[in-house]
């Protein structure tokens, strides 16, 4: 960081820190924390946040190590009735702790989904085989510290952006004229692992009259940020913000994404946690970024969403991931799914699936992440639903790992119901 950046860092960190004075020790954050509710290793957001923060002094060594067990899910900040930026304070403390201790090589690798995706895609069958080959995973655990049983996504072997470039815009729009431009931020999960999700997003948007622009794009930097690699995270997210901004050519154009944690990174986390409030490109992008379900429900509320939904006579368990809830827009997927005739939606009422991006991949946290997710897995099983809908890809992989059931983005049901 440049000296100027450091000054800004301090300023923003102080603003976050100032919010701790609003803490009245009511313990509401403790009731909601997924991690402290299953392990004594993390004493909870109140203890690690507002309480410990008072003892943290700039340029002095970290006083409190348990904050490394905070998964960064952000639920504590959401439920706090006094507006304390608990998760953000803890993210800063975690970054400091990591800088004191040094970053393991693992954290520099698994936080780079773009690199991994580029490396794995051309050799997908081999990469997928290797990632599921136990001896290799044992080796990976020993050498790198990635847990041998942690859910590894499958490389699709093709990239979403190739499909997007080759297609004829509007070919599945069913006669809708594409009158409104929208910029699509697909993220790494769609690009390398689930390109079909991106195709569905594009087709749903076109069905509703959007002309979808797909800029060349890379990672949003969230994995780097959540592992405490702030400097690297800043570079990555600003590069993305600039790439997206270039395509927003008029005041009405908005940006939409289906990776809910990545859209949250653009909207808020990068600005607050990475101290980038002042960056004009990020601010511009942040203000006009929508999560796909947020956008579709807003269209519906305005009477602008097509409702030619065919019945789907099934039941589905819906889990709103922590990062979706961090958008502070409620649970739009629930209301969208409710539009589909015949579909019986069962809202899961568990805290978290446990994965928290890359948290549950780490050897020292895998078991913990599985205990966090246990409640959700049990609720899914009890619901009897054959499929789980969830807005975040890493959560879906964890849910499938924990329940052995398929897990899809909520838009899958809309796409099917539209008959696209």
């Amino acid at each position: 960081m440049s000296p100027a950046g450091e000054g800004n860092d301090l300023f923003v960190a102080e603003l976050l820190r100032g919010s701790l004075d609003h803490c009245v020790k009511c313990t509401i954050c403790e009731t909601a924390c997924p991690v402290s509710n299953v392990t004594p290793l993390f004493p909870g957001p109140k203890y690690a946040g507002p309480q410990s923060e008072r003892y943290r002094i700039a340029d002095e060594p970290s006083v409190e190590w348990s904050v490394d067990y905070c998964s960064g899910c952000g639920i504590c900040s959401q439920v706090c009735p006094q507006g304390v930026k608990i998760a953000e304070i803890n993210a800063q403390a975690r970054n400091k702790l990591k800088r004191d201790k040094g970053f393991p090589l693992r954290d520099r690798i698994i936080t780079r989904p773009t690199w991994l995706g580029r490396a794995g895609t051309p050799a997908a069958p081999i990469a997928n085989f290797t990632l599921r080959f136990k001896p290799f995973r044992v080796l990976g655990e020993k050498l790198l510290g990635v847990h041998r049983d942690a859910p590894a996504p499958k490389f699709a072997g093709r990239r979403f952006s190739r499909w997007a470039r080759k297609r004829v815009p509007g070919d599945r729009a069913g006669g809708s004229s594409l009158t409104r431009k929208i910029v699509y931020f697909h993220g790494c999960g769609t690009e390398y692992y689930e390109p079909w999700e991106g195709q569905k997003v594009v087709e749903i948007l076109e069905h509703n009259g959007f002309e979808v622009v797909v800029p060349k794009q890379d990672c949003c930097g969230l994995p780097l940020q959540s592992s405490g690699l702030f400097d690297e995270g800043r570079k990555v997210v600003l590069r993305l913000a600039r790439a997206l901004r270039e395509h927003v050519t008029d005041e009405d154009t908005i940006i939409v994404g289906n990776a809910t944690s990545c859209t949250l990174m653009l909207k808020r986390e990068a600005r607050e946690i990475l101290s980038l409030e002042d960056d004009p490109d990020l601010k511009f992008v942040s203000e006009r970024t929508y999560d796909i379900c947020e956008l579709l429900l807003e269209l519906h509320d305005r009477g602008e969403l097509k409702t030619d939904f065919a019945a789907i006579n099934e039941s589905v368990a819906y889990h709103a991931p922590c990062q979706q809830q961090g958008h502070w827009v409620g649970k739009p997927a629930l209301d969208l799914l409710a539009l589909i005739p015949g579909l019986e939606v069962r809202e899961m009422n568990a805290r978290c699936c446990g994965i928290a991006g890359t948290y549950g991949l780490k050897v020292e946290k895998y078991e913990l992440a599985m205990s966090v997710g246990r409640d959700l897995f049990d609720q899914v099983a009890a619901s009897g639903a054959p499929t789980v809908a969830c807005d975040s890809e890493t959560c879906r992989w964890q849910i499938t790992h924990g329940t052995k059931l398929p897990s899809v983005h909520p838009i899958d049901y809309l796409h099917r119901s539209y008959g696209l």
């Binding site: 203890y47 009735p81 653009l266 203000e287 305005r302 961090g326």
Partner: protein
Amino acid sequence: MRSELHFDAVVIGAGTAGLVAGTRLAQEGARVCVLAKGVGSTHLAPATIDVLGYAPDRVDAAGAGLEQLIAARPDHPYALMGAELVSVALTWFVQTVQAGPLPGYIYGGSLEHNQLLPTAVGALRPSALVPETMAAGEASSLKRVCIVGTPSLRDFHPSLCAGNLELAGIEARAVSLDLKVERADMNALGLARHFDDEKWRRQFCAELSLALRAEEHVGLPAMLGLRDPHGVLADVEHRLGRRVFEIPTLPPSVPGMRLYEILRAALRAAGGRLVLGAEVVSHERDGDRVTAVATRAAGRDLTYVAPSFVLASGGFASGAIELDSRWVTQDRVLGLPLRGVPARDEPRFLSRYLDEQPMARVGVAVDGDLCAEGAENVVVAGAALPGAIPWREGSGEGIALASGYRAAQVVRAQSKPTAAIA
């Protein structure tokens, strides 16, 4: 570019008052959205429904007490709603709990008889409705009791509780059981999670049985599980062969979390939306009407437009009403006029904390229909109402429940201008 969302009614606050108002509106077919900065007071309160406990002497029957209070204090929130409405709201609440997500879990009691239940310090507190998990703690049925604590729960002192119950004429003793939980700073929620586990419960009951004497009821800190408190209570009573009851703890309140889940589920079941993390940061007006409020969502502010609003944002405790360092008192949510603020030359505070503090009666000024002064389409509910001192009166939940219920009626009547307010 602005995100504008339209609803029939928007409720601000997700405590008991806000969730009840939202649920009632949704049940009546309104498109309703409940906005809240965070989780409300449910998680902090004992979750008994205290309608009227002191006026100023202890009240034996809340219903009769209400009639007297209403006659004597026309500025009291209960006087604006009427005793009949309180009764209707309570009946609705009991049914809502019964139909809720916790199988078999019910609330019992009536306005005819306040139940006296031990607090964590062993004082007896009058409540109109109590969850079944607390019912066996009713003082009149309590002859011999064993108050059980654990060193891991550092905010609950069984000997203090038992000692004070002795003073109230109940034969009480204390037992401290080492539950060998792995963390030093366990709270009631952590223990409730253990109680949800049948194996753990069995072990607990086996160990506790050894310490119990004949014919003793057992009082435990409120921790009999979150998922199935009805089943857990039945199981523990069966294993111990006696009546068992919960005693409210310091926060987090396990019975309060159950109450939140019941009301949240009722709101959702009726089709209402709930947005947490949605602090109202600004609003728009057209003369005497509030036309929209804006929340700070991630990345941008969202505008919620509605013909009616329910302000259930709480009072001083939630931060919705503020006395700042310049001695200015204000409603921080919508900037509405307040009532009950002591004049400059009058005392604001009395020297003893639990005295009848003058500031405590401050609330948003309302008319007889709970509509805010200067904003006719904003209906006020819960602790934001002026004129009550809930912690002295033992009236907080009763006011929250009844005013939330009433606010929904008023909003519905506003949307049908020709109909009289039911």
